[in-house]
């Protein structure tokens, strides 16, 4: 693709993405890697969480999105952290950052149009115009704490949150302390807390300062971010399983300098990509993607972590949304960005102008049984770009009688549509006959090879 046609595609992609983000369905109430703790009888159940981690040289900035839907007074959370955090290490971020990350890295559907088979240009030379769609887009008492083996290491307020950093000697002491301070702890909490206490981890406990919250006038709670230095490159997910009955989804955005991130204690699998799917997928791309993801989770017995996106932050092709700006990346904790810019004379946000940031988007669905350990990550040196991308090819709309080549085109088109339907069935686990019927290729007319049904 030459530069001018790219620009056209790039611009239309941005426009379309901007239009489609608004259509993205709202998510369920999000969970954290720690657990929500209700302070009243509010029923708080975790379903999906989004976490962004920027890391380089053991320096880590974690941002936790906050889509908590209940009353602010009932909100609280507990997250194990490797070190004691001081006030300057905690920050309240802009929720827009998560929307931008999500839109930029979302699985995408691209569409191409078949050229006129009667025209002189060869099929292979026809430039496709891609466009992208976003898929989804009260002060604690120190004396009592000491008696329980709980130590208040730090205590401060940031934005609308009151934060306490705790260390504990015994998990039941910590559980008692949390209960006495009117945090409603889910049953079984001390069992889940114990391994973190033994590993000498601290507990980041946050609740909403109602006065500050009202003063700010912000309707939703904003993401909490914290920065620390530790060799531990992990995400505690076990605690979040306590108050969740079934499977939960977690999306982790990892911003690193040198390459793609993968989990070392679970298999990291790239989702099928580049597949041609029927035109009908356009009507419900989210439905397609959800079904495909569920099918892939099932095929891996819910033991795998899926890569949805791994790309240099400087560009995209096609773009579901523009890459994040340098300021947005800094806000997410990419502290090494300036160092990288000095090394590279190329303007960072131009097409092809790679920046020293790789974004890896990992998506997992897990239960307590299928993910017995917290996630441990490693940054690989893999710089090969990957995206979950699905292709839709619109047929030429002319008549079969237009020219001799047109007749041949429609014969091939029919075969292609059958193959697309088979791909869709394979990816999603949907019934092939129904897909064929929907595509106007009724089941009876389709001839399957004799061996296809043997092992089904």
């Amino acid at each position: 693709m030459n530069m001018s046609s790219f620009k056209l595609v790039f611009r239309s992609a941005i426009l379309l993405a901007a239009a489609t983000i608004a259509l993205a369905t709202p998510r369920d109430a999000h969970a954290f890697c720690g657990f929500f703790v209700g302070k009243a009888d509010a029923s708080l159940v975790n379903h999906t969480s989004e976490v962004a981690i920027a890391r380089h040289d053991d320096k880590t900035v974690i941002s936790m999105s906050n889509d908590y839907q209940g009353a602010p007074k009932d909100f609280a959370m507990v997250v194990p952290v490797p070190v004691v955090l001081q006030k300057g290490q905690v920050h309240v971020g802009d929720p827009e950052l998560f929307h931008k990350l999500e839109a930029y890295s979302a699985p995408r559907l691209v569409e191409y149009y078949d050229p006129d088979p009667c025209a002189a240009i060869a099929l292979s030379e026809a430039a496709g115009f891609a466009r992208a769609m976003s898929a989804a887009p009260a002060a604690p008492m120190p004396q009592r704490a000491n008696a329980l083996g709980v130590k208040i290491e730090a205590q401060f307020s940031v934005g609308e949150y009151d934060i306490v950093i705790l260390s504990a000697k015994q998990s039941d002491g910590l559980e008692t302390w949390l209960r006495e301070n009117r945090y409603k702890i889910p049953p079984g909490a001390s069992v889940a807390l114990a391994p973190y206490i033994r590993q000498d981890m601290k507990f980041f406990v946050a609740k909403v300062n109602l006065k500050e919250h009202e003063k700010s006038g912000i309707e939703h709670l904003r993401p909490i971010q914290f920065a620390f230095e530790s060799p531990k490159f992990m995400l505690p997910i076990r605690l979040g399983m306590i108050n969740s009955s079934g499977a939960q989804d977690l999306i982790v955005y990892l911003l690193t300098r040198d390459g793609r991130v993968e989990t070392t204690n679970y298999r990291t699998v790239k989702l099928p990509t580049g597949e041609n799917v029927p035109e009908s997928v356009r009507d419900d791309f989210q439905g397609f993607y959800k079904a495909m993801f569920s099918e892939q989770v099932e095929r891996n017995q819910m033991h795998a972590v899926f890569t949805e996106y791994a790309w240099n932050m400087g560009w995209c092709d096609p773009c579901a949304a523009p890459p994040l700006t340098a300021d947005e990346l800094r806000a997410l904790g990419v502290f090494w960005l300036d160092e990288g810019q000095r090394r590279s004379p190329i303007a960072p946000m131009m097409y092809g102008g790679a920046v020293p940031v790789t974004l890896t988007r990992l998506h997992l669905r897990y239960t307590a049984a299928t993910f017995p350990e917290d996630l441990v990550f490693q940054e690989t040196q893999d710089i090969e770009n990957y995206q979950a991308r699905y292709v839709m090819q619109h047929p030429w709309s002319g008549s079969a009688n237009a020219c001799p080549a047109a007749k041949n085109y429609f014969v091939q088109l029919r075969q292609r549509k059958i193959e697309e339907a088979e791909t869709l069935a394979e990816l999603t686990g949907w019934n092939l006959d129904s897909i064929l019927k929907k595509a106007g290729l009724s089941g009876g007319e389709v001839t399957h090879p004799w061996w296809q049904k043997i092992w089904q």
Partner: protein, 283 residues
Amino acid sequence: MGVAGSQRHFSNFGRSLATALGDPRLSQIFALGSLLALGAWFRDFSLRPAQIVLTFAAALGTQRLTWRCYPPAARSYRSAIITALSLTILLRASNLFVHPVAAAAAISSKSLIRIRGKHLFNPAMLGIVVALLLLPGSWVSPGQWGNDIALAGWFVTMGALVTRRASRGDISWSFLGFYLGAIALRIAWLGQRWDVWTHQLSSGALLLFAFFMISDPMTAPNSRGARIAHAALVPAIAYTWQFSLYRTNGLIWALFVASLAVPLWDLAMPAAKFEWITQGAIK
């Protein structure tokens, strides 16, 4: 069961082939070749065909070159093939030069880094260490196998076959005992669920290490007692590396460090050096 039956079938086939030819390395090649095929086809190994070809070309080419400088009593490409297979199974790279350079370093180390007539490092392990330390764009994916129990069973079967043929099963089993014992103690101490232990046990990377790397009879200590001590030292270092320093690839680094002590073990506890072609048909 179908799978168990076919495993037995393959094991028997491998064993009879090895017995017929008198060299355990043939069954090792067969086992590693199966693992590579399984991984490449069923496990999204992110390995390019060109990387496999270059690894083999570099390993075999370097082997040929070393024979010119250091003429051996008997020439065989079998060890070089084993090293090439191990490297393709374990090492990942974003470019094409990492694999051949690692393979060349691995094979040449057998001639260049020798103490008292015995090479110091398992060549595949050294190749990986060289790549991780010196070559840009390389990494190891410990999670690439997944924890598929059936696959783990396959490893154990194949590995048992290889180590039995090479008479060094003691080191594999004692290593697994020490390592998994340490993991079990950690789980008990932390109060974690026992699923974590089975999760660790069924890691393909661990079993591959136990049956195909630490068990290398050419670089393991000669005496049985020293082998057991070596099999305890490696997990101790790996455990510290992983759970105190929170670094990855603990087993590889641990074997690298522990290998430095092997000449001392051989000095302190002398025993006959292992030779590939002293068993089976020739014996």
